[in-house]
């Protein structure tokens, strides 16, 4: 097991940096019921399979059954930032378009989930049990619009303030061992849940982030203020301790930061055509105990009214000394306090709500709402999907989504079965491959499973 984990890390890192790195919201797979991993978005949506084992196609062993990677940038697309002028074949910054598209708070998010192992099976058609071991990495960088607007100067904030609230980084890397159980209570109601045991490996948590820069309307006085608390948990090596030696096995086998999480779901069949479902995911905590630090600044501000020229007039000081005095004052006022402190961080919960309408036995349409709860704010995404099954081997879904304040997300997903061997791939935005400069969301979810049904063929809707 240790070997498997160690072997996984370079692959994981490769995915983090390679062009394969895509996706964030994973909306399309929700509608691809032939793939057992769709179950993770709502544990009440019982998979079609009687039994499955997640596996790799080459090794034929039950590891790495599912890889999900996403990059999303809610603030701007590349062509918001850089305008391409065909006539002279050059690019140039387009500040007007860039700033117009920014929201008050913008997020660059990278998400990586690698399922190392999973299996699931049904008992008497009505009960389903699922077990999985997953490696999860979440990274978010929040950049307030006002911070970027400062590139245009601070005059736009005369008489007001540039607000940098929320600025910061959140990152969490953890192992997740989950066991799920789903049961069909009756013909209409199905409920399910997953209990997760978590082991945190590293974390950056911007617990409090308040910062601003006010510009006085009469005197242009500058008033920076801040109130920041950032928690971190990482190997001591990264703090410059332990002689700078980083041990990847120590890192991956660190079970000193335990946590738990829970997913709950419910599915209600209104009639033969309509059904609605809902789920809440990732309610839980991780208790960070190892390599922890708390970095904080006092809730403070500083008014810069200009340089006092008294010293210059009487020759008691010079510009160098004067600026040093100012920077020393700033350093003291905004001094970062560091202490070792254990802490508890929450997971980022998600809510899924969906409605499904069966058009025929082979096709259906559905709408899905996903709410990503982050920093006490719901970040919504909506998807309209059409799902069609061809023969007993091919399951296709096409989708249209609104996510990350972007309407241009056309998704596609497919699973193909060759005997018991299934491969699948989904993305919420195929346009990312065609017009990458005009997209905010890039994601892909692919994997493979051994799947077995009660009958020989894939069931119809």
């Amino acid at each position: 097991m240790k070997k498997i984990i160690i072997l996984t890390i370079p692959f994981l890192l490769f995915l983090m940096v390679s062009d394969m790195v895509k996706a964030q919201n994973d909306m399309t797979i929700y509608n691809l019921g032939s793939v057992p991993q769709a179950y993770y978005d709502n544990p009440a949506l019982m998979p079609d399979t009687k039994f499955h084992i997640g596996c790799m196609p080459v090794l034929f062993i039950p590891i790495l059954s599912s890889n999900y990677t996403s990059i999303s940038n809610s603030g701007f697309r590349w062509d918001n930032l850089m305008h391409y002028d065909k006539t002279v074949d050059s690019i140039r910054p387009d500040s007007a378009k860039f700033f117009k598209n920014l929201s008050k708070k913008n997020y660059l998010a990278i998400n990586q989930q690698i399922e190392l192992f999973s299996f699931g099976f049904k008992i008497k058609h009505k009960h389903y049990i699922n077990v999985s071991l997953t490696e999860k990495i979440d990274f978010r960088f929040c950049y307030p619009r006002d911070m970027l607007l400062l590139a245009n100067g601070n005059s736009q904030f005369i008489g007001s303030e540039a607000n940098f609230d929320g600025i910061g980084v959140d990152m969490m890397h953890y192992h997740e061992i989950a066991i799920g159980y789903t049961t069909e209570i009756n013909k209409k109601w199905t409920v399910g849940g997953r209990a997760k045991l978590l082991f945190g490996l590293s974390n950056v948590w911007t617990y409090r982030s308040k910062a601003s820069l006010a510009v006085d309307k009469d005197y242009f006085d500058l008033t920076p203020s801040s109130n920041m608390i950032v928690y971190t948990s990482a190997p001591e090596t990264l703090y410059g301790n332990n002689g700078g030696k980083f041990s990847i096995s120590d890192y991956l086998l660190n079970f000193g930061n335990p946590g738990f999480g829970i997913d709950l779901g419910v599915n209600y069949k209104i009639d033969d055509k309509w059904s609605v479902a809902g789920s809440v995911l990732d309610f839980g905590y991780i208790f960070w105990n190892t390599g922890t630090r708390k970095y904080s600044t006092a809730d403070t501000s500083f008014i810069f009214r200009g340089i006092d020229v008294k010293g210059l007039l009487n020759g008691n000081t010079n510009y160098t000394d004067m600026f040093k005095k100012i920077t020393d004052s700033l350093s003291n006022i905004f001094k970062i306090d560091e202490k070792n402190q254990k802490y508890t961080s929450t997971l980022n919960p998600k809510i899924y709500l969906s409605a499904c309408y069966k058009i025929g036995k082979r096709d259906r349409v559905s709408v899905v709402f996903r709410g990503d709860i982050y920093k006490s704010t719901i970040h919504p995404a909506f998807t309209l999907a059409y799902n069609c099954r061809f023969g007993n081997i091919l399951d296709l879904v096409v989708s249209y989504s609104y996510m990350n304040r972007d309407f241009l997300n056309f998704g596609f997903g497919s699973s193909v079965r060759f005997g018991p061997f299934q491969i699948f791939i989904t993305t919420d935005n195929v346009l990312a491959a065609i017009i990458p400069y005009h997209t905010k969301n890039i994601n892909v979810h692919f994997g493979c499973n051994y799947v077995f049904y009660y009958k020989k063929s894939m069931p119809l809707f």
Binding site: P93, N154, S155, I158, Y219, I434
Partner: protein
């Protein structure tokens, strides 16, 4: 059915290939090497530049050891310009030069000189009169340091000898100086006798002056050779490096002069014209003497020089000539003699009205001016100083008082990157003084390119003050001045090489009202700058 599906897959594959080829076409959009050359980014920045609350001390920049801003119990301010225009210490005036005696005499010893036998020659007394500066007569002197040096040689001498040296009138703790020097044959013997702490009393009786008696007695130690008496001894003696601790005598008439020393009145250094009436300016002369020596000094040619205002030079009159300086009454004391000149006994008020940058004076003097025999004294620490102080109480009125300063200045070549430049000057003036300030930008040929303010823009308005006798300000006045330079003006400023700063000051009501300046008055200046400029990438 299978064929149909395969066709579908083939089409899907084809579609994917098209998509991938399309995406490769868009690499250009991400190629940062294709970033537009010489592109520009505009930024509009506002920031506070200066925030100072300036008191008169800060504004005048006039306080150091020679220039003082002094306040009284009511916080009223005086400017004091001070200078030591003459200073002499005791060593300068009364230093005793080295004295060379070089005594030679012949002695005779009677008898044979076998080994171990001593024969004593008759004593020889040498009288020596010290030469002194200005032929002064020294009654007695106590030496801080000094040396009585010998280079003794007895030609043809084949024995050893001891020379006893006694100065009966040179005593230390009441004991006369008595030293022996051993001589070995005809070799030259060098010896130094330390005179520190000795008091020497000179004989000034019977027509003698500064005379000292020294008694030499030679004892010859027989070495078995022949007695070849008489022998001639050359003492080769001298008094060197004599520094006195205390000296008494008649120092006679020492004359001294020190022409042309000046006091700078920095208040007026940068003034180019205008008028100022100070109500009660004064010159104080402080003469301090710790010599027991009456001195008479002449302060002559006291002239005020103004670089800008006619008549440019004005003599200060009313100073009596000569001034008699009190001597110290006893050793260790000092006596201060003070003379004050103001509007009641001189024309100094009118002198200040021309705003002089300098007050120049010549000093000369004579000790024991009566010429009669005197009994004077001095110590090593005695000194004689003449200090002049110009006191300008900041109480009066000024009008059309123009100050100007020129400084090198260069905006640099990047000034034309600016679209505009805005200065916002906020002043909160607690002084009862109006100011019209102007900055002129000059090129290499000293042609004015531009000026910063509209003509006669008053950027500092005088505070409101009450009446006599205090003339206290009861309300400060705020003024906001905004100056905007558009691109066309900024481009012209590229050639700026100098800046002339000119300020025209007037006390309240255009200089008609008398004001007093107190230490708690302040001018709050807040300068903020806003600029829009283009950054090239």
């Amino acid at each position: 059915m299978k064929t149909l599906l395969l066709n579908k897959y083939a089409k899907t594959l084809l579609l994917l290939l098209v998509v991938l080829s399309l995406s490769s076409c868009y690499k250009d959009r991400f190629d940062l090497n294709k970033l537009e050359k010489n592109g520009e980014w505009s930024a509009d920045v506002a920031a506070p530049a200066v925030y100072s609350s300036l008191t008169i001390r800060d504004l005048l920049d006039d306080y150091d050891q020679n220039n003082l801003v002094v306040e009284d119990a009511t916080n009223f301010l005086n400017l004091i310009y001070w200078k030591k225009v003459y200073s002499k210490n005791a060593e300068d005036l009364l230093g005793i030069p080295n004295q060379t005696l070089n005594t030679t005499y012949t002695f005779d010893v009677v008898g044979t000189l076998p080994f171990g036998v001593d024969l004593v020659a008759p004593p020889n007394t040498t009288y020596y009169s010290f030469t002194t500066p200005n032929n002064m007569t020294i009654d007695n002197v106590t030496l801080k340091s000094g040396s009585f040096d010998f280079m003794i040689n007895i030609a043809g001498f084949t024995h050893n000898a001891t020379i006893n040296i006694v100065i009966p009138s040179a005593t230390k703790a009441g004991i006369p100086l008595n030293q022996n020097i051993d001589i070995f044959g005809s070799a030259t013997t060098t010896q130094h006798i330390d005179l520190s702490g000795y008091t020497i009393v000179f004989d000034n009786t019977g027509g003698n002056q500064n005379r000292l008696a020294i008694v030499y007695t030679v004892t010859v130690h027989g070495q078995g050779g022949a007695n070849n008496s008489p022998y001639t001894v050359n003492m080769g003696e001298s008094f060197t490096n004599l520094k006195f601790e205390e000296i008494h005598g008649d120092f006679k008439q020492l004359s001294f002069n020190f022409p042309g020393d000046s006091i700078q009145l920095r208040l007026f250094t940068n003034k180019i014209h205008g008028s100022m009436e100070l109500e009660d300016p004064k010159i104080h002369v402080y003469i301090n003497s710790s010599f027991g020596l009456p001195i008479e000094i002449n302060i002559t040619n006291v002239n005020a020089s103004a670089g800008w205002n006619a008549p440019y030079q004005l003599p200060v009159n009313g100073i009596p000539i000569p001034l008699n300086i009190n001597p110290a009454l006893s050793v260790g004391d000092s006596a201060l003699t003070t003379y004050n000149f103001d509007k009641t006994n001189s024309n100094f008020m009118n002198v200040i009205a021309i705003a002089p940058q300098w007050v120049t004076t010549d000093i000369s003097g004579l000790s024991n001016p009566s010429g009669a025999p005197a009994s004077n004294f001095a110590t090593a620490a005695s000194h004689f100083d003449v200090n002049m102080q110009v006191e300008l109480p900041l109480f009066g009125r000024a009008w059309d008082f123009v100050l100007e300063d020129t400084t090198k200045f260069d905006f640099g070549t990047d000034i034309d990157r600016a679209e505009y430049l805005e200065f916002r000057i906020n002043t909160q003036n607690g002084f009862p003084i109006d100011a019209i300030t102007q900055l002129y930008f000059l090129d290499n040929a000293n042609h004015v390119i531009d000026s910063i303010l509209p003509q006669d823009e008053q950027i500092i308005s005088g505070a409101l003050s009450g009446g006599a006798p205090d003339y206290r300000v009861y309300e400060s006045v705020h003024k906001l001045t905004q100056i905007v330079f558009e691109k066309s003006r900024l481009t012209a400023l590229k050639n700026t090489k100098k800046v002339i700063i000119r300020g025209r000051l007037a006390t309240s009501q255009n200089g008609t009202q008398i004001v007093k300046i107190y230490s708690d008055y302040a001018l709050e200046v807040r300068l903020a700058v806003r600029a829009k400029f283009n950054v090239q990438y």
